[in-house]
């Protein structure tokens, strides 16, 4: 093992700033040295007997799968195809602007992309520009890691009124997803209702209520920042079907709400009956979460000068979003009142027959993302909205794998996806070892795909070219005191990439 000297320096025990030194060291042996010229090096990659694998999707699942494959096999070549010109998926487009530490994984993904046996192709839409079948012809194995681009619908009247947005689109809007840049959410009313109580719901609540001097130092897009500055939303209710003990968010996010400057909690005490008594039976994570929730509910949090409020409402399911009298926009939401059957994580919400109306002008549907089928040739379970698989091996299709949300559903944090991606990579590696991937068959890899792309007039973007886009974003952000100012337009991204 190489002996790397740890720099001896005073280590200040400041929890948040305890940083790892030089994560770059991790991939010392695999570091790309010398030419990284995209076209010159990669066009000649054809296989003798080394495995050629491609991954569809350049988000955390794609990168973690690639990382594990490259680390475990000395000769494997991995190409990553991504629909947008830029990599990183939900790390860039989902993680909230005020959670920059969570985005540190981008550093390890960058090293993976720079590995000499890894090649990134942005601006390539698999399913439209190139088919999965064509990928299977060019590679020994194909891994589908394209995530969940749609959202679960409420399925209630009024869902398409002005003022109603999916959390996916709202988050995409403030995070600069190009197809959400024209969302123009209506922030003119006093009250917002968020349906769903997971971490995404809390991210949305926090973005709606955070003081501007916090937001303006983040990578939230400039147009969104201006819209939030002009927002009239002062009260955010986060509504769940079930009770306090079934709340899906985690304690870090709840703590951020409790500590959010300028705000105070507004809950209904009656909804917490019996909860304190249930505490002692709970496993530690749920217990700590519930204790913090109770503390907030008792009104012992928040400042007296708070002008903004947030609160949970439990045992409520949406039945109708009600329009204004001129029927142009949202004016309120009708909720069915539930009771719980059973207890704990498996408790079910059962309607009581009662309803309750809330006034609001903004409704955010945060009940979950949803994957879509990519291609008629790839099996897809429309009920669970995932690709049927066993430990990442796609059912009944040899040489096809999946990882991340499209494999197991759109839940969990980045670490969950990391472990899941490692599982898929391990299955793939086992199959290589067992001789199941027919490595003796000569495959053309990216050479075949690039030929098809050129024929079809598709201009792919390399990782080096992404770094030009990255540099431009960081430069623009620097002028405004932000870590980056995200480009919002695909054409502009490509233009900068190709300069």
């Amino acid at each position: 093992m190489s002996s790397v000297v740890i720099e001896e320096k005073p280590v200040k025990m400041n929890m948040r700033s305890l940083r790892a030194v030089k994560p770059l060291e991790r991939f010392l042996s695999a570091r790309c040295v010398g030419t990284r010229a995209h076209g010159v090096r990669k066009l000649s990659s054809t296989s003798g007997s080394y495995p050629l694998v491609c991954i569809v999707g350049g988000g955390p699942a794609g990168f973690y799968t690639a990382q594990h494959l490259l680390k475990s096999h000395p000769d494997i070549h991995v190409d990553i195809y991504e629909r947008l010109p830029i990599p990183f998926g939900l790390v860039r487009f989902g993680v909230a602007p005020d959670h920059p530490e969570v985005k540190n994984v981008i550093n390890t993904f960058t090293q993976t992309a720079q590995h000499k046996h890894c090649c990134f192709f942005g601006n390539v839409n698999i399913g439209r520009d190139v088919s999965v079948k064509e990928l299977q012809e060019a590679y020994h194995a194909v891994v589908l890691s394209y995530g969940a681009e749609a959202n679960r619908r409420l399925g209630i009247p009024g869902e398409d009124l002005l003022g109603v947005y999916s959390a996916k689109d709202f988050v995409g809007w403030y995070n600069g997803v190009p197809c959400n840049k024209d969302l123009q959410p209506d922030l003119s009313s006093d009250t917002a209702v968020i349906l769903g109580q997971g971490n995404v719901a809390l991210d949305v609540a926090r973005m709606l209520l955070s003081p501007l001097d916090i937001l303006k130092k983040t990578d939230v897009t400039q147009p969104s920042l201006e819209a939030l500055a002009a927002s009239h939303v002062h009260k955010v209710l986060i509504v769940g079907r079930r009770g306090p003990l079934q709340m899906a968010c985690t304690i870090k996010e709840l703590r951020e709400m409790v500590n959010l400057p300028g705000t105070k909690p507004d809950m209904v005490t009656a909804e917490f009956e019996g909860i304190a008594e249930a505490l002692k039976e709970l496993p530690r994570p749920r217990k700590r979460l519930t204790e913090l929730l109770l503390k907030a509910a008792q009104g012992s949090a928040g400042s007296a000068q708070a002008t903004r409020q947030w609160g949970f409402r439990f045992l409520r399911s949406p039945v109708e979003i009600r329009p204004s009298s001129d029927v142009t926009r949202t004016a309120g939401i009708r909720l069915a009142v539930n009771r719980l059957e059973g207890s704990g994580e498996n408790a079910q919400a059962v309607p009581t027959g009662e309803v309750e109306d809330l006034q609001c002008g903004l409704v955010i549907n945060s009940i979950g993302y949803r994957s879509l089928p990519i291609d008629a040739t790839v099996p897809f379970d429309p009920h669970k909205a995932v690709i049927p698989n066993t430990v990442g091996r796609v059912e009944q299709v040899a040489g096809l794998y999946c990882s991340g949300w499209v494999k197991r559903g759109p839940t969990g944090v980045i670490a969950t996806t990391m472990n899941d991606s490692f599982d898929t990579a391990r299955a793939l590696l086992q199959d290589i070892e067992a001789g199941l991937l027919k490595l003796s068959t000569k495959k053309l890899g990216s050479k075949a795909i690039v030929t098809l792309l050129e024929k079809r007039g598709v201009n792919s973007v390399s990782f080096l070219e992404w770094e030009k886009i990255n540099a431009e974003e960081v430069k623009r952000g620097g002028r405004a005191g932000k870590p980056r100012e995200k480009l919002l337009d695909v054409e502009e991204m490509i233009k900068i990439a190709k300069t």
Partner: protein, 139 residues
């Protein structure tokens, strides 16, 4: 080996002090034991990263208390002598896979002389039971 707790504030460590070499053993997710020799002061996350130890996916958030991937399991007699755990660490630790009563996040534990010879473990790769169930359902 003595497990006597050395009371030392980290900010007092002088940059030029060459402490005794401290031997640490890491057992990775596949059960492989990795031994390394370090000087005191660095966090266990820094040790894993800087020594390039073979532990998959360690330290995703780079020590900023935004994930649980540097989760380490300690022996009871070491665990009870560690610096007290703060709420922020507990918040992330609560989400860790394979959480135990002697778990901590490696980014929050700094190497001290009294840890010489200790063994820390990463949760073993256990085949997720849900995968077994799902595969049965999908057949």
């Amino acid at each position: 080996k003595s497990n006597q707790k050395v009371i030392q504030k980290h900010s007092l460590i002088s940059p030029t002090s060459k402490g005794d070499k401290i031997l640490l053993h890491f057992i990775n997710q596949s059960g492989v034991k990795i031994t390394t020799s370090v000087t005191e002061g660095a966090s266990l996350l820094e040790v894993v990263i800087n020594k390039n130890l073979d532990i998959s996916g360690f330290g995703a958030c780079e020590g900023t208390l935004a994930c649980s991937t540097c989760h380490l399991i300690f022996d009871e007699n070491v665990y009870k002598n560690l610096e007290p755990i703060a709420d922020e660490e507990l918040d992330m630790l609560d989400l860790a896979y394979g959480l135990t009563k002697t778990s901590r996040l490696g980014c929050q534990v700094c190497v001290q002389k009294w840890m010489d010879g200790m063994t820390v473990r990463v949760p073993r790769d256990v085949k997720d039971l849900r995968n077994v169930k799902e595969s049965a359902e999908n057949q």
